[in-house]
Symmetry: C2
Subunit: 79 residues, 2 copies
Amino acid sequence: MKATVHVFLKPGVLDVQGKAVENALHGLGWSGVSGVRVGRVIEFDVAADSKAAAEAQVKAMCEKLLANTVIEGYRAEVA
Amino acid sequence: MKATVHVFLKPGVLDVQGKAVENALHGLGWSGVSGVRVGRVIEFDVAADSKAAAEAQVKAMCEKLLANTVIEGYRAEVA
């Protein structure tokens, strides 16, 4: 089954990479851009008997490895 | 308007970060995981008169700054 995980910094956490991208876009003339947030996407195949089992596995992976849950939130989808 | 840009390495390009994540997941006992690809997501607000205008702006941003089109592909959505 195909899993897609989005990892983003939590709303209160300063996103320096996002700020850098925003400044660069402003510098290139796109002054209408605001609120830039940069995150990661992780896509992979996971072997599981059911969608529920795959979702449980992916959630555990996120908590253990894929996201730093102190400062990051994640959204996992299994299809 | 809210824009979301996904940036991934092109299929032929070795994804070392993905390989590292895959090896780490195998090491933690998830041997059923394969084909891990790691990409970036960039979310931002863009000021534009119409959805088409916003899409054109976002496409130009991707080509100029957000993606390295030599080795990366991108998918842009405006909502």
